[in-house]
């Protein structure tokens, strides 16, 4: 009840509202601070609205990892990389003496996998194409790649799947697709070279990953790994009209 009284204090009540019949909207004559209910709750950082509810978010266990406000939010709080805000990471191990196969170890192992660059196929072949023409690009490297590593004595299977493809055409243009392209006559990823010249198009493949420990369930590996491919020399020439006698 105390919470409601405090909440009402935020609401500027100008006139008492008359009794309303069933189904009718109450005669609204007062205006709150703008922004809506949730915004006013969020903005109340100092807790002037004392909520008597002890409803606590989350079915998650309290000793799991979390982000918290403030530099000394918890013992062993770790600063974050990527932000200058006053937020730290609290990692609570349930068994502090046993080294834990953490996501950090998995991510590092994934990054160190030395995944292959995707194979780039260009059509027409043999490094020669025409200007103002749909030069076709695709890759055959689309299958997931599985590797088994040992981490902290456990057998961990890592699986990397090519997910996005960055086609750099060498003339300053590039394209990112989730489509790996396809061979002619399908034209999925094409590029038009406007000027004749020699270009070095290349393909960078971004892999997403998942892992399992032993025969356990598959889990996502957060983050991605991108492998750059080497360029292929490609000469774009102008088609010369040739008069053929007939």
């Amino acid at each position: 009840m105390k919470g409601l009284v405090a909440l009402a204090a935020l609401l500027v009540v100008v006139t008492p509202t008359p009794a309303v019949a069933d189904g009718e909207d109450p005669d609204v004559s007062a205006t709150t601070t703008p922004g809506g209910l949730s915004a006013s709750l969020l903005d109340d950082v100092d807790g002037d609205i004392d909520t008597s509810s002890d409803a606590k978010p989350s079915g998650q266990v309290d000793d799991g990892p979390s982000f918290q406000l403030g530099e000394a939010a918890c013992p062993g709080a770790t600063e974050l990389v990527g932000t200058s805000a006053d937020v730290t990471f609290c990692q609570h191990y349930s068994e502090p003496t046993t080294p834990v196969l953490t996501v950090g170890l998995i991510r590092t192992a994934f990054a160190e996998l030395r995944l292959p660059a995707g194979e780039l196929v260009i059509q027409p072949p043999d490094g020669l194409t025409l200007v103002n023409f749909d030069t076709n690009f695709y890759t055959t490297s689309t299958e997931p790649i599985s590797r088994t590593v040992t981490l902290l004595g456990r057998r961990v299977t890592l699986e990397a799947t090519p997910s996005t493809f960055l086609w750099t055409f060498g003339d300053g243009e590039s394209l990112t697709t989730s489509d790996p392209g396809a061979p002619y006559p399908q034209l999925q990823v094409t590029h038009n070279y406007l000027r004749k010249g020699t270009y070095r198009p290349s393909l960078a493949t971004t892999y997403t990953g998942r892992y399992r420990v032993g025969g356990g369930p598959w889990r996502q590996i957060p983050g991605t790994v991108t492998i750059d491919g080497t360029g292929q020399a490609l000469r774009a020439i102008e088609a010369e009209p040739k008069l053929v006698s007939y």
């Binding site: 909440l7 009402a8 709150t32 998650q60 932000t83 950090g104």
Partner: protein
């Protein structure tokens, strides 16, 4: 003569038998006169009268990527919109960290309003993510997302359990949100004004 008439009568009788015409048969009626449409024509139910259902977790929001984080943040505000007009904060609780003070303020505030017999009408937020970056620790043990967002509410009527009501006009509010990827899912751990 007689044989001809007899023959004629016989053939007429045969004809009558062949066609099966009797006075008892109903004549085939105009088809449209007997068909009547059954059932009510479908009309879209007005969203103001239909009870809203809890927004489901979109598949896109289950991915540990920046796109997944964007989808999750959108989902989180869909849950706030839903909780405001129903008082149902269960889904919000599930996806908020236990140490998230901002989350608690919203969850408890909405919960209190409805427990005391009040409710809210309208006030739906539209969300815009202004900036989103990945955050982590030096040993990569954590995967997090920092997002600077902007929300704008539609007009809202808040009715207290006492019957008092008030109106909240549209306005833009800005927040900093931190998501953490834990237990194969995103979770909101911080929501604070910025």
């Amino acid at each position: 003569m007689r044989s001809l008439r007899a023959a004629l009568a016989a053939s007429l009788a045969a004809l009558a038998l062949l066609t099966g015409c009797t006075d008892d048969d109903p004549s085939p009626g105009d088809p449209t006169s007997t068909w009547t449409p059954t059932g009510e024509p479908e009309t879209p139910t007005s969203s103001a009268t239909a009870k809203p259902t809890e927004p489901p977790l979109p598949d896109a929001a289950t991915k540990a990527t920046e796109e997944g984080a964007r989808a999750f943040i959108t989902y989180y505000w869909d849950l706030i919109n839903y909780a405001q007009v129903t008082g149902d904060v269960e889904a919000l609780k599930r996806v908020s960290g236990s140490t998230c003070r901002g989350c608690s303020r919203v969850i408890n505030g909405i919960s209190d309003l409805y427990t005391d017999g009040g409710h809210a009408i309208g006030g739906e937020y539209t969300l815009r993510i202004e900036r989103i970056t990945e955050v982590t620790t030096p040993d990569k043990a954590a995967l997090g997302i920092e997002a600077a967002i902007r929300v704008r509410n539609q007009e809202q009527t808040i009715v207290q359990g006492s019957g008092e009501s008030a109106r909240s006009v549209p306005a833009t509010s800005r927040y900093l949100i931190y998501l953490i990827w834990v237990n194969e899912a995103w979770r909101t751990d911080i929501v604070e004004p910025r």
